[in-house]
Amino acid sequence: MAEFGTLCLFCALAASGWAVIASFNGWRAQLGELVLSAERAVLVTWALVFLAVASLEYCILTDQFGLEYVASYSNRALPKIYKFTALWGGQAGSLLFWELILISYASLIVLTNRRRNRVLMPVVVTTLAFVSTFFLGLVNFMARPFVRLAFSPEDGNGLNPQLQNPFMAIHPPCLYLGYVGLTLPFAFAMAALATGRLDDTWFRTTRRWTILSWFFLGTGILLGGWWAYVELGWGGYWAWDPVENASLIPWLTCTAFLHSVMIEERKKMLRVWNLSLVIMSFLLAILGTFITRSGVISSVHSFTKSDIGPVFAGFLGLSTLVSVGLLLYRLPDLKGEHRLDSFVSRESTFLFNNLLLVGAAFAVLWGTLFPIISEAVRGVKITVGPPFFNEVMVPIAFALVTLAGICPVIAWRRASPRKLLEKIQVPFWALLGGVAALLLGGVRDVYALVSFGLAVFVITTTVMEFFWGARSRQKVTGQGFGGALLSLVDRNKRRYGGFTVHLGFILIMVGVTGSSAFKQETTASVKRGESLTVGRYRMLFEDMVSRESPNAEFMGARLAIFDGDRRVGTLVPGQNFYKAGQNPSTEVAIHYTLREDLYTILTGFDPQEGRATLKAYLNPLINWIWIGGGVLILGAWFAMLPDLRDRRRDAEGRLAEVESRAA
């Protein structure tokens, strides 16, 4: 099977290489048949890569430890689901999985554009196949998943215990779908630049793909945070680790693009800027992959150091050179009509929103790379950790949230300052009321007051938008309020999906503020029958418990949880001793409520004295982060659904293309 997999990968490399050559030459020589051949080669590459992935999965699932990859990331006792996910547990397998996602996206693009975008498609295929060829080159020559060992060990090393978690089964695929998806708008942007077809076709075609990538990247980041929370055992969800940052940076630039592209749609402005954002997002996704896999910056999430770093750097350099070169070449053709009716307009707020989002991306990138800069300049390696990012990012985030509150109520083109003030009067009073209430409730933390106050402001403006929109519709159509609201939202999914995303983001901010500003903790070493307390919870240590699974032995402390005098549950924080690993893995136990989480960790146990050392955190409002994430996902899905007007525009576009071909 391993030989078959190797053969598939080699043939896939050849097919993908052919797709690059054929599509590029087909485009240059205007040979439609050559372009079609390239498109078929993409589909063939997909089939071959799929077979290679299936071969590797088969080897993992059937415990073929004669393969280096299987011996390194799986073992006999590993549950089937984690054997399956071991595909992306190591460098070579994850690169292969990356390639499978990329070529699947490319195939979908080929299949859905057989009769559309025929002018752009040759360059789109060239770009996608070029990126695919690069990754196939890596898995064929540098990070090979089918390397045989000189001997066949009895058992494998097993998967990293921290990766044996349901969130880790979903988190990497989501991130990859997001990262890789950014290649699609990039390919269409390259096609627009290369062919000179600089109208809105390229971004209209890829709008949904871009939202989809943004959605998967965001979901991946969120799931990563959730995984860190339930698995790593430090009571938090985001540590500003370089690899975490690497996923956040392209997400921020992609968010900026999704906002600024609306200005191009309406006013044909910012064409250079939008192309730059798409190029930037793709290059930052590659940079993130480079950071994760090269070992240039140390991180808990990164793969083992390997020699693919320079190759990635070369690919990044080449991609930058070609894309920026093309952009500069087309610059004279990209000059739009840059006119703004007023400084006080939605266009302006979008421009400032872009400034802040790209500024935030720059700040995170700067902090992530500063240790390298410091070492190069001073020869001293330093750490840029959470205090830096928290201090720099909080003011930027507050400014962004303020804009999210103002933007929906400000009109396109021109809004008079008087009317704007009138419109934000209600949200502003709500903000004041909210802050006053929090002050009365004893909250004195300035960041928390600003954060919660802004949350009230944005929620009020957003709810008002839904309310007034439905009222207006109700007046015109005579429907009931509920019906009017539903039809309003249904007729403009993108707008109201976007507002829902804003609401989700605000809930996340509330959760982050609550769980960081009001966090409480306690650590104690207790004997059976003794208690420790955090906030209003008392935890009574009842006994030690142990259980065995085929893969690991678990030892935990059973705690009776009391809220005042009322017993509200039982928690068993513990540690897993994996048979294949040496270090125990912390297994936290959490008492979830909408109000707060009681988060318990067993940090040690002395069997002779019968003492358990326990750490407990009280994390207020933390579950609103995950709820907000759900709202955000819902909003993004909704925004991706086609509107009536989108369908009409699509039909018109296709008709125009058919007519132009007929002419």
């Binding site: 430090w234 680790d241 330093i382 959470p386 830096f388 709500a430 928390a448 309003l488 009001f518």
Partner: protein, 185 residues
């Protein structure tokens, strides 16, 4: 086409009289003042010197990029004990941090210093934002001036809020919207 809900023109003119700001403010204050003591434990706790020092040092266990404040490994426990002992011996929090830096190097600090070359790390993002923001303001003003140069008869958006009467073109667009909405029913 749905009406643009962001426009004041489509709203009842007397909304301000009917929903006065003070009443909203009092309502939100009332709701949140009932909820906040239930939800939030109290104001954020004072940061103790022990926690302050723990937050400024990275754990060098190698298992995660976490500060000593949150890392749960045995190495972090040892560091916390040493911090407690040093503070107990009368060392100031800054002296404790300095002692760890002297032993383990600059890398143990969780964030760059706000002096010397490290200050560059702190100021660069904000300097970049201020410069880009200034450039953006200049560009927006320039684009605004370009707009002013357009002849008076040039088409304008129906979204304009200048309070003028709609042009015949806008009137037709509005009629079409109303017709579409009626058809929708």
């Amino acid at each position: 086409m749905p009406p643009e809900p962001g426009r004041a023109a489509s709203r009842p003119a007397s909304w301000r009289r009917r929903v006065p700001g003070i009443r909203i403010s009092v309502f939100v204050a009332f709701v949140l003042s009932l909820a906040s003591p239930l939800v939030l434990p109290s104001s954020a706790a004072e940061v103790s010197p022990q926690h302050w020092v723990e937050g400024r040092l990275m754990c060098y266990c190698g298992c995660a990029d976490l500060t000593v404040r949150v890392c749960t490994c045995g190495t972090a426990d040892t560091i916390r004990q040493e911090i407690a002992a040093r503070l107990g011996n009368g060392e100031s929090p800054d002296q404790v941090v300095a002692a760890f830096v002297a032993r383990h190097g600059e890398q143990i600090r969780s964030a760059p210093l706000k002096s010397g070359f490290d200050l560059v790390a702190w100021v660069t993002p904000f300097v970049a934002l201020i410069l880009a923001g200034t450039a953006l303001v200049v560009v927006i003003r320039r684009w605004g001036k370009a707009r002013q140069g357009i002849p008076a008869g040039a088409p304008s958006s129906p979204g304009t809020e200048s309070g003028r009467a709609p042009t015949p073109e806008e009137q037709r667009a509005l009629e079409r919207v109303r017709r579409e909405l009626k058809e929708d029913r």
